[in-house]
């Protein structure tokens, strides 16, 4: 197995173009476990840890965060909890402190596991994934189009993930994850919610309950329409219980879970409805309370 060590981004793209079978390696928290546990042996590893610009984030002109693919969960938690609260909440649920110190959002996207903790909050806010190749330059893939199958994403063989471009929060966000222990657990299912008080749009993301991470489109549409229709954004009043319940039902219906060793399909659907109900209640309470205190 070859170990490729590009010292810069252009060199990395050149190597990936030259060796499309090379597996990118960032924190190694997923790749190394795979290597240790399975007989899978990639032809080459492309070590991206020597490229400093991947480890940085910046704010773009239109209030988005451009999150370098090598930014760790620890950085997200410490530096971006205000701008990207949903992603930061998800990052807090990843593994152990050691894993959060090494693991990266870019790596999570690269692995594209249906259980990846970063994915639901990125779906909920409509992030875009910036990918690059040596010959074609950069392009932005909407997160909705990024996950193409179980552990598959929309990258071409010669492309690398450069960054995630994520709108900063304009309203309360929540993330909840079910696991059968209280830390260091892969999601049995997870749910992210983002309320955008400017556009008055609701975003969602569901993890571990379908072949890929997905949005709950119907639930988003329903809640967006109800909130607008009832003028609830402006009235800042509590949500009717029936709305919360219907939203939760629609989230559960959006999922396509299976029975596996981590949980049953029936349980996953049920749990998603509970998480949807609770996260919506927390998010709306926060929105309402902020408005109360502001008023």
């Amino acid at each position: 197995m070859e170990f490729l060590t590009p010292m810069g981004w252009d060199e990395a793209l050149a190597m990936k173009a030259d060796r499309p079978d090379a597996l990118p390696l960032a924190g190694g928290t997923d790749v190394m476990v795979e290597l240790n546990l399975t007989a899978h042996r990639p032809a080459a590893l492309l070590d991206l840890t020597r490229i400093p610009e991947l480890r940085t984030w910046s704010t773009t002109a239109n209030e988005h965060i451009r999150l370098g693919a090598g930014v760790t969960y620890r950085q997200v938690i410490d530096e971006l909890a205000d701008q990207l609260p949903g992603l930061a909440m998800a990052a807090r649920t990843v593994g152990s402190p050691q894993i959060r110190n090494r693991g990266t959002v870019g790596g999570n996207l690269g692995a594209a596991s249906p259980a990846g903790d970063s994915h639901p909050p990125l779906l909920a806010v409509g992030a875009q994934i910036e990918v690059s190749s040596k010959t074609r330059g950069s392009r932005l893939i909407p997160i909705d189009e990024f996950f193409t199958g179980v552990k598959r994403n929309a990258l071409a063989p010669d492309e690398l993930i450069a960054a995630a471009v994520i709108p900063t929060a304009r309203g309360p966000q929540q993330f909840s994850k079910i696991g059968t222990r209280n830390a260091m657990v892969i999601a049995v299912c997870s749910f992210a919610l983002a309320l955008d008080a400017h556009t008055e749009v609701v975003g969602t993301g569901i993890g571990s309950a379908a072949p890929t991470p997905i949005r709950a489109d119907e639930a988003e549409r329903y809640l967006t329409e109800v909130l607008q229709g009832l003028r609830l954004w402006r009235r800042r009043s509590p949500l009717p219980e029936s709305v919360v319940r219907r939203f939760a039902e629609l989230v559960a219906e959006a999922a396509a879970p299976i029975d596996d060793v981590r949980g049953t399909a029936v349980y996953r659907r049920h749990a998603l409805s509970v998480l949807a109900r609770r996260t919506l209640t927390w998010a709306w309470d926060e929105y309402w309370a902020t408005g109360q205190s502001a008023a």
Partner: protein, 779 residues
């Protein structure tokens, strides 16, 4: 307890908590575990395992593996020079499969190569032609039963020549047809728990010039390994020498052989040192687990809560090979009524062969499973009769002087009532403060699943009942050699024993015993190896008792010789001699002289083989016998918060009171109680090897979950010290009891919080919310 009255300036005697001799190395990451072994020019071994739970082997083609560059040897069953069978109870397990494989992961062939990756790839190239057979995956089916305790199923294929019943233990006492006011019947099943030791199976076999082999390996019992390896290699014990390598946890999972014979075969065949290290997935397939159990308990009680009778049936799934199943069956049967005084008992416990992973020893050894059943029954009795759960337990509790269902007299302290009252009296944790949300205090933890919604609290109690040491007439002994000499003007004691330190702290206790008995500060522990006699197993909570007993006796022999030397020097008999701080002192005449002066060049060395009092086999029809050495007791109180909508659990408190007879090392004793309680917590709420149709579905720490720090509450631990007059220093084995009662206490608390029956252990979120869907269902 005269020893406590001796005045000494030294610390690190019994009753103290000195630092472990390996503490610094372990906390700084420098301790050499068996997986760290290395030798110039060594080869790496790899094991090809069966992918099927049950299949006939039609042929094995090793040529493609042999053709790989770097491969030094490829071996199959034909290359086993001795008897191709081993086992702790009886040899039924092949070193390498011959014509049939009986479980997924059964070793089929071995490769040695100059690089571990080459060895692994070569093993993959071996072509095995299997004819798959239909696996038997249920213990009750395997033994031909159509219902509880009811034979009648015919046509079940036999997995072994003598059928699928490994052992049936019957206990019959009292009235066979007793009458009771109220009858409580419950059925329970316990999943397969893994020991989940962190250091994978590993070792290094080095061929010797005399045609023998030196094996460095992580194990729990060097001599029982040696005996089995000798038989497989066709070599005498003088040619098979074992040395304990650094052990990264055991919990019963290292009582059976794993890579031992394999590494020796490859080393002998190639003439080179061979190292084998399992990876985590292979480790899950490479050692025995805790027996899954199906249990039916019928308790007949009077209206006041007095238990009139217990009728119980237990099936233990032993998997493909016997391992220690016969002894586990006896334990589950004899301890299976719990620490309760029941006049009329009918117990039937069966151990079965199936095509599931082999099961054997794990901390608690058959009593863990039964405790889930008997303690659930006690709670149901209390609920049915409107009584207090602790009160019902106290009403029926064993006492010193009681007889257990085997007829054996409980002839030392059995403070069940006091343990319960003390644990009940410990302060309860305060309720969660809703105004100050800390996700770490909520079920689900930082995963942010509840801010208090749906959370209900429950409190539960359970009592552990465990035999200490080997039972049923087993010749259970330990050997210790103690050598006292003067080195550089200072007395030094060297201890030689084959007893395995597996992390529990025996090495610390050994030093404490020597310091106490011989008054010598500097105690060197020689590596544990087979050059000294059998040290017995590091299991059954027995090493401080039995190896400690042997060491104490060896020290006493050395001390007697030293007093002889002293009196010869002094020229006459002196009364009341003691060894204190490197000096011989007389109670009547004061200082006699320093050891350095008295001994000079004299080396005093004594070897002692020490046995606990004898035990006796169970009567095959009634199970009556003085089968056990010592009984140990612990009581737990668990407080849980359950998210009743999501079925997630936070154990809020897990407090324990245990009678330890004498705390030789209080810190180590508490460590055993903390660790044991957590291992029990794991089985209660998360730990299960999920096996479907004989195939393991979660052979990794990604999906076999063990508790993290956020799953473990702060624990209050209280020690009682009621000396057992039969045991050295009055001590009682401590390692296992906390593992037995912590889980049932948690289940009790969970039932109180959820009002769900929770008859499958570990509980799943589905069960806690009352859902119909269980992850694993018995057939």
């Amino acid at each position: 307890m005269t020893l406590r009255t001796e005045s000494s300036t030294s610390t690190g005697r019994i009753g103290d908590s000195p630092q472990r001799p390996d503490a610094t190395l372990k906390v700084t990451g420098q301790f050499a575990y068996s997986s760290d072994l290395w030798m110039e020019g060594m080869l790496w071994g790899s094991t090809l395992r069966s992918p099927h739970p049950y299949a006939r082997i039609r042929s094995i083609d090793i040529a493609p593996a042999l053709a790989m560059a770097g491969v030094q040897a490829v071996l199959t069953a034909d290359d086993v020079p001795g008897i191709n069978a081993y086992g702790l109870d009886h040899p039924d397990q092949p070193v390498l499969a011959e014509d049939v494989v009986r479980y997924q992961g059964e070793p089929v062939a071995l490769v040695a190569a100059d690089h571990p990756e080459v060895a692994r790839l070569a093993a993959e190239r071996i072509v095995v032609d299997y004819e798959q057979l239909t696996p038997i995956t249920d213990a009750m089916t395997a033994v031909g039963h159509v219902d509880w305790n009811t034979p009648g199923r015919t046509g079940v294929p036999s997995l072994h020549p003598d059928g699928n019943l490994v052992r049936h233990v019957k206990i019959r006492t009292g009235d066979p047809d007793p009458k009771a006011d109220v009858v409580i019947i419950g059925e329970y099943d316990v999943g397969m728990q893994d020991q989940a030791f962190l250091g994978p199976e590993s070792g290094l076999a080095v061929p010797a010039e005399d045609g023998g082999i030196d094996l460095y390996v992580a194990t729990q019992w060097l001599h029982v390994d040696q005996k089995q390896i000798c038989a497989a290699l066709g070599l005498g014990p003088d040619k098979v020498r074992l040395t304990l390598a650094g052990v990264g946890g055991a919990f019963g999972g290292r009582e059976d052989l794993s890579m031992h014979v394999h590494a020796c075969l490859l080393a002998i065949h190639t003439g080179k040192p061979v190292k084998i290290v399992y990876n985590r997935a292979e480790s899950f397939l490479g050692h025995v687990h805790r027996h899954p159990a199906r249990m039916r308990y019928e308790h007949g009680v009077r209206r006041d809560g007095t238990i009139v009778y217990v009728h119980a049936t237990i099936y233990l799934d032993g998997g493909a090979y016997a391992s220690s199943t016969p002894a586990v069956v006896a334990n589950a049967a004899t301890m299976g009524i719990g620490p309760y005084d029941v006049p009329n008992v009918r117990m039937d416990c069966y151990g079965a062969y199936t095509n599931n992973p082999p099961c054997g020893a794990m901390r608690g050894f058959g009593t863990v499973q039964a405790a889930y059943a008997y303690e659930a029954q006690l709670d149901r009795i209390a609920a049915e009769l409107g009584l207090d759960p602790v009160g019902v337990r106290c009403r029926n509790a064993l006492h010193e002087g009681s007889r257990v269902p085997t007829g054996q007299l409980v002839d030392s302290a059995a403070p069940v009532v006091e343990l319960l009252h003390r644990v009940e009296a410990l302060p309860l944790p305060p309720p969660v403060d809703p105004s100050r949300l800390d996700l770490r205090e909520q079920p689900g933890g930082v995963s942010n699943t509840t801010h208090g919604e749906g959370v209900r609290r429950g409190v539960g109690y359970a009592v552990a009942f465990k035999n200490v040491g080997f039972s049923e007439g087993f010749d259970d002994y330990s050997t210790a050699r103690v050598r006292l000499e003067i080195v550089g003007g200072e007395p030094v004691v060297t201890v030689y024993t084959a007893a395995a330190e597996v992390g529990q702290g025996l090495v610390t206790v050994e030093q404490q015993i020597v310091r106490t008995e011989l008054g010598v500060e500097k105690v060197v522990l020689a590596p544990a190896d087979t050059r000294v006699g059998n040290g017995g197993s590091t299991s059954a909570s027995r090493q401080t008792y039995v190896t400690g007993g042997a060491l104490k006796a060896a020290c006493e022999a050395v001390r007697a010789e030293v007093f002889d030397v002293a009196q010869r020097c002094y020229g006459r008999m002196v009364r009341g001699l003691r060894l204190v701080d490197g000096k011989v002192v007389s109670d009547t005449e004061g200082g006699i002289g320093s050891l350095a002066d008295l001994l000079a060049d004299t080396v005093v060395e004594r070897t002692v083989e020490w046995r606990h009092r004898p035990t006796y086999p169970l009567d095959p029809e009634t199970g009556q016998a003085d089968a056990h050495v010592q009984y140990a007791f612990a009581a737990h109180r668990a407080v849980v918060d359950v998210d009743t909508e999501l079925g997630l659990v936070k154990v809020v408190a897990l407090d324990c009171v245990q009678d330890v007879g004498r705390a030789i090392n209080p810190q180590a004793v508490r460590g055993q109680i903390y660790g044991g309680s957590v291992q029990g917590l794991g089985l209660a709420v998360m730990e299960e090897i999920v096996v479907t149709d004989g195939l393991v579905r979660n052979a990794s720490f990604t999906d076999y979950l063990i508790p993290t720090i956020l799953d473990v509450p702060p624990m209050r631990v209280e020690l009682l010290e009621y000396a057992d007059p039969h045991a050295p220093y009055g001590l009682r084995g401590v390692g296992e009891p906390p593992t037995i009662s912590s889980g049932p206490a948690i289940l009790s608390a969970l039932r109180q919080a959820t009002r769900q029956p929770l008859t499958h252990i570990p509980v799943h979120p589905d069960h806690l919310i009352g859902g119909p869907v269980a992850l694993t269902n018995p057939e």
